[in-house]
C-alpha cells in the first residue's frame, strides 16, 4: 500500500513539474497557480527528502530552479529559509534526546556560519549563468556522493585530538536496538574545522543547506556515530544557515510569495514522510532521489551553459 502511495506521489510530482514547466512558458497562467504549485511541489519534496534521509533544500533549489520561473537569487534565499525552518523544528527534539551535542555544534557552527556569509556574498555577486553551471556541477557531484558514500554507524576512532579533548567534546545516547547507552568521542577536529569552512561557503553560495556534507564529515572524518552525526548536522544548520539567510534577507533576495509556501510545503511534507518512514523501504526512494538530483543537476548545467536541446 505504501509502495503504491509512493508510486502515486512520484506520478503527481512528475505531473506537477511538467505542468509547471509548461505553464512557465505560458503568460496567461493565473498568478496564484505559482505559489499553489510551489506548495504542492515542496510538499512532495518534503516527503521524498524525509524518506531518503536528505535535507529538503538540497532538492528544493535545483528542482525549483529547473521548473519554476523565479530568479535563482530568490530561490537560493528561500532555500536557506527552508533549511533554517526545517532545522529549527527538528533540532529541539534531537538536542533534548542527546542525538545532537551542543559542545560539538558550537565550534563547527562558528566557522561554518562565518564562512557562509562569504559564500552568500559571493553567490549574490555572480551572474546567474555562472551560478547555474556551478550549481549543476555541485548537485551532480552530490548525487555521485550519495551513490558512493558509505556511512559508518559507529566508526572506530583513534585517540581524540588535543583540541577535542580540551573542548571536552563527547557524550552518550540511548541505542534502542541494543537497549544500552552508547558513549562517543570525536577526533580530527582541526581538519573538520577547515572542512566546515568550505561547507559554510557552499551553503551560503547556493542556499542548499549542508546536511549532505555535514553528515559525512561528522561521521567519516570526525568519527561521530551516525545518529549523532545526523542529529548534530540538523542542529548545526539552524546556525550556519542563519548568517547566510540574513545576507539574502538584507539584500532583498527573500520574496515571501516564494519563501512562505516553500517553508510550509516542505515542513508539512517532511512530517508526512517521517510517518511513512516506519513502513516504507527508504533504499529504493534513495535511488529515486539520486536520479532526481542527477536530472536537476544536469538541467541546471545545461541551462547555465545556454545549450538548447
Amino acid at each position: 500500500m505504501i509502495e503504491n502511495f509512493f508510486i502515486q506521489a512520484s506520478s503527481v510530482f512528475t505531473t506537477t513539474n511538467v505542468a509547471v514547466a509548461q505553464a512557465a512558458g505560458t503568460p496567461g497562467v493565473p498568478w496564484w497557480v505559482w505559489p499553489l504549485a510551489l506548495l504542492i511541489t515542496t510538499f512532495l519534496i518534503g516527503i521524498v527528502a524525509a524518506l531518503a534521509g536528505v535535507g529538503g533544500s538540497v532538492l528544493f533549489v535545483p528542482i525549483v530552479s529547473s521548473f519554476f520561473p523565479f530568479h535563482l537569487d530568490f530561490i537560493r534565499g528561500s532555500g536557506l529559509f527552508v533549511a533554517l525552518a526545517c532545522s529549527l523544528s527538528a533540532a529541539p527534539k534531537l538536542l533534548k534526546s542527546n542525538f545532537a551535542s551542543l559542545r560539538l555544534v558550537i565550534p563547527l557552527a562558528l566557522l561554518a556560519s562565518a564562512s557562509s556569509i562569504g559564500g552568500a556574498l559571493l553567490g549574490l555577486s555572480l551572474p546567474q549563468s555562472i551560478l547555474k553551471i556551478l550549481l549543476g556541477t555541485l548537485i551532480t557531484g552530490i548525487a555521485v556522493l550519495f551513490i558512493f558514500s558509505k556511512n559508518s554507524e559507529i566508526p572506530k576512532i583513534g585517540h581524540p585530538d588535543a583540541l577535542a579533548r580540551y573542548l571536552n567534546i563527547g557524550g552518550a545516547y540511548f541505542e534502542a536496538s541494543t537497549g544500552k547507552d552508547v558513549s562517543w568521542n570525536v577526533w580530527r577536529l582541526p581538519l573538520a574545522l577547515v572542512l566546515f569552512c568550505g561547507i559554510g561557503v557552499i551553503a551560503g553560495m547556493f542556499g542548499i543547506g549542508a546536511g549532505w556534507a555535514n553528515v559525512p564529515v561528522l561521521n567519516l572524518v570526525m568519527g561521530a556515530p551516525l545518529k549523532i552525526a545526523v542529529g548534530t548536522s540538523m542542529s548545526l544548520l539552524a546556525i550556519t544557515d542563519t548568517s547566510a539567510a540574513w545576507i539574502y534577507l538584507n539584500q532583498g533576495a527573500v520574496l515571501s510569495i516564494i519563501t512562505v509556501p516553500s517553508v510550509l510545503g516542505i515542513m508539512a511534507g517532511s512530517r508526512v514522510g517521517v510517518r511513512l518512514l516506519r513502513t516504507t523501504k527508504p533504499k529504493s526512494i534513495r535511488y529515486i532521489v539520486i536520479l532526481m538530483l542527477l536530472f536537476a543537476g544536469l538541467k541546471s548545467l545545461i541551462d547555465g551553459l545556454g545549450v538548447k536541446l
Binding site: P35, K96, L121, W184, L277
Partner: protein, 170 residues
C-alpha cells in the same frame, strides 16, 4: 575505544545504516530519551528553539495570508509578482524601489514587508538561544565556550546588521 568496539559488534542491521539511523532517531526521540542525561544548557537552548521557531512560523503564516488577501496595501500586489520574480535581486530592487538592509522596517505598514517580520524572527531564534547559552557557560566559567558562543553572536549580528552589502550579479 574498547566500549565503542563492543557496541559496534553488537549492532547488527539489515537496512542501510543511514536509514536505520533516521528511523531509530524517530523512535528514540519519541520514547526512550530519558536514559541519558542532557545538560541543562542544552535543554534550555532546545526549549528556546522550539517555542521561538513555532512563534516565528505562526507570525509568518498570518502575515502571508494578509498579503495574499491583498490587505494592508502591499507595495507590490501578489497578483503583480509574476512581472518581477524572474528578475535578479538587483533589477527587482530597481523595478520595485525595494528598500535594502533594515529599511524595510519602516514599510511594515505594507503587507509585503509585514511578511518579513516572521522571517526575520526565524533568523533571530538562534541568537536568542545563544544568548541563553552565553549566560549558562559564563556561570559555569567554561571560558572556551563563552568565547565561541560570544563570537557566534557577533557573527550573526554582523550578518543581520546589513553592513555586508554587494551589487547583485546578472
Amino acid at each position: 575505544m574498547s566500549s565503542q568496539t563492543t557496541v559496534l559488534s553488537s549492532v547488527k542491521s539489515a537496512q542501510s545504516q543511514e536509514n536505520i539511523a533516521q528511523s531509530d532517531v524517530q523512535s528514540n526521540v519519541q520514547g526512550n530519551a530519558q536514559s541519558v542525561n542532557v545538560s541543562p544548557e542544552q535543554n534550555r537552548y532546545a526549549s528556546i528553539l522550539l517555542v521561538c521557531s513555532w512563534a516565528g512560523i505562526v507570525v509568518m503564516v498570518v502575515t502571508f495570508l494578509l498579503y495574499m488577501g491583498g490587505l494592508f496595501n502591499p507595495t507590490v500586489k501578489a497578483s503583480d509578482m509574476p512581472l518581477y520574480w524572474g528578475l535578479s535581486v538587483h533589477k527587482y530592487a530597481l523595478a520595485t524601489h525595494a528598500p535594502s538592509g533594515w529599511n524595510w522596517l519602516s514599510m511594515v505598514n505594507h503587507s509585503d514587508y509585514l511578511n518579513l517580520i516572521g522571517l526575520a524572527f526565524l533568523g533571530s531564534v538562534s541568537v536568542l538561544g545563544y544568548l541563553s547559552l552565553f549566560k549558562d557557560y559564563l556561570r559555569k566559567k567554561d571560558l572556551p565556550y563563552v568565547i565561541m558562543v560570544g563570537l557566534e553572536i557577533i557573527v550573526i549580528v554582523l550578518a543581520a546588521s546589513g553592513i555586508f552589502n554587494i551589487s547583485a550579479g546578472g
